[in-house]
Symmetry: C2
DNA sequence: CTGAAAGCGCTAACAT
DNA sequence: ATGTTAGCGCTTTCAG
């Protein structure tokens, strides 16, 4: 691999000059630029980013952490969509990603990270405080409800829930249940709060029940319990599509007709909801938008390390499908 | 951030010693280790990986490239599963990942990569030759059918196809169609070859048709065409689960009973196949296994940069579900 | 408009 | 068992 010195020598200029034609951080004579570029091309020279990062102390790598573990989140297509969004947007901003392992690993080379994107952190997420303390700028997808102050980009899920409730009551569903999880991630908190408030406001009966984890199986178990009651809910909402699918399965197994006897609603509008039978009413959020905004914030931090934290809020929109359309 | 020099000074030893207590590359007196560790702890010192990489010329970062684009691959849960597998295995080997953008970006800092993992490359994949030329070791998931010599870990999909054909003919499906794609990735090539050969061997009628891309929609369109024929196939196989789902939808829309009038088979055994209605017969591969093997190879290269390339082949196993069980 | 030279934080001969 | 020192490849004052 040719180094900056090789190029300088062959082109008959100093390394300083070569450095500047590549960084563009100071004016260089057009003829010199021409010559240097040519030599560099010929020698197959590419600036070494590691050396550059070391010299400047400014990295262009951002950490990426998905808080996915034993539970079913790992199968949630939402994450793939987000990932694609990140990959796409990274090209525009010149960032490159480093995947952070699931468990906090003190050996991770935080010196090489300018910041980190953390997806759906729970308040116990160890990476957020860890990285923040080391001086990394952090942007979370959905909010971090722990102590550390960070930037975030999130959807207005509460708003989405209100749309859901309007729709359900319009369709004649008045006895509702929300299947949530104990893990206090912001999306669960927001959805629950809006659910309780919205049911009160509309005079709907609404109960929140908890599944042991985010899997469809766990949701299915809870749904079966709900449907076995003498006064079962007429509509069940899952905090993520995955769980709503579990409800769908429970209903099918128990011979409960959807949407006639039971309305089912999910959140996120992943492929799963379109492919469900019947197709699932859900709340749409835009993963690519989330990714793009997150990277925009990150880029702001890169330009100005002292740029203050920001909280971006994107809309969430109800998508009506067959699982709640009583005709 | 404390540097190695701060630690050395405070601990009253040389930087060399500090370096060695952290790298373990030479014996250091227990007492010294103790003292250095203590000071480091107190000062919050962490070795700077960027500097280390520069000094050693040996990085522990591996590039990760998913050849996902406009087509539906981005929604294929298989990738999430692989990703989780990579993340899990990386902990064991001490690797960390750098996501490579979809399009070849010459500005990517290949100097910081010891190697790259490329998932399902088509023969036109630009990253493989690019990185190989820069001296990165490459491991592909499924084989790279282009010119460049690389290591790979792959499943024996041909074997899986033979199991599929045995099963189908056993169930009385004798007029088969395989929906594949024009993109000549190794999985499509392998599956097609085994399909043709297997049908011949068993005296089954077998036709390969092509969808415009890997999406369920494209597969659905092709399936509709197939089913509208005067002599429609009695079983349709999709090269990935996603496409088989499209077939399922086409059948449903056209009132064709699955599995009675039509058998449907997919590949990969993603969540989608379990959640399909009816559940999809498919060929199971193990994403975590693939990830683990790939990283094992990569680690071998890290230990010995001259370690020869290797081609790992993992099994693929038929999973019989309702979509082909004629009772 | 261009150079010289001092680092960035760490490793690895080469010494002792 | 430990230390000295010369880099790794690049950026960046400070000079010209």
């Amino acid at each position: 691999m040719a180094t900056i010195r090789d190029v300088a020598r062959v082109a008959g200029v100093s390394v300083t000059t070569v450095s500047h034609v590549f960084s563009g951080r100071r004016k260089v004579a057009p003829a010199t630029i021409q010559a240097v570029t040519e030599v560099a091309e010929r020698l197959g020279y590419r600036p070494n980013g590691v050396a550059r990062t070391l010299a400047t102390g400014k990295s262009t790598t951002v950490g990426l952490h998905f808080e996915i573990g034993e539970d079913a989140l790992l199968l949630n297509p939402f994450f793939s969509e987000l990932l694609v969004g990140f990959a796409a947007a990274s090209a525009d901003y010149g960032f490159t990603f480093k995947l952070l392992p699931h468990d906090l690993d003190v050996n991770v080379d935080s010196a090489s990270l300018m910041g980190a994107l953390v997806v759906d952190p729970s308040p116990q997420n160890p990476w957020v405080p860890f990285l923040a303390r080391r001086g990394s700028r952090i942007v979370t997808i959905s909010r971090f409800l722990g102590e550390t102050e960070v930037s975030s980009v999130d959807n207005d899920l509460g708003d989405g829930m209100h749309e859901v409730l309007d729709h359900l009551s319009e369709q004649g569903y008045h006895n509702l249940a929300l299947i949530s999880v104990r893990q206090r991630a912001s999306y669960a908190v927001d959805i629950e709060a809006a659910f309780r408030e919205g049911c009160d406001q509309r005079g709907l009966k609404g109960e929140v029940v908890f599944a042991s984890d985010l899997s469809d199986r766990a949701a299915r178990r809870v749904a079966i319990e709900l449907l076995e009651r003498r006064d079962p809910p007429t509509a069940i909402i899952g905090v993520i599509d995955h769980m709503a699918l579990g409800v769908l399965h429970a209903a099918q197994e128990m011979g409960v007709a959807v949407p006639e006897a039971l309305g089912v609603v999910g959140f996120n509008d992943t492929v799963l909801s379109r492919h469900a039978v019947p197709p699932l009413t859900t709340v749409r959020i835009e993963p690519e938008e989330l990714a793009r905004e997150a990277l925009r914030l990150m880029h702001g931090f890169w330009l100005d390390p002292n740029c203050p934290d920001e909280e971006i809020r994107l809309p969430a929109q109800l998508v009506k499908r067959a699982s709640t359309q009583r005709a």
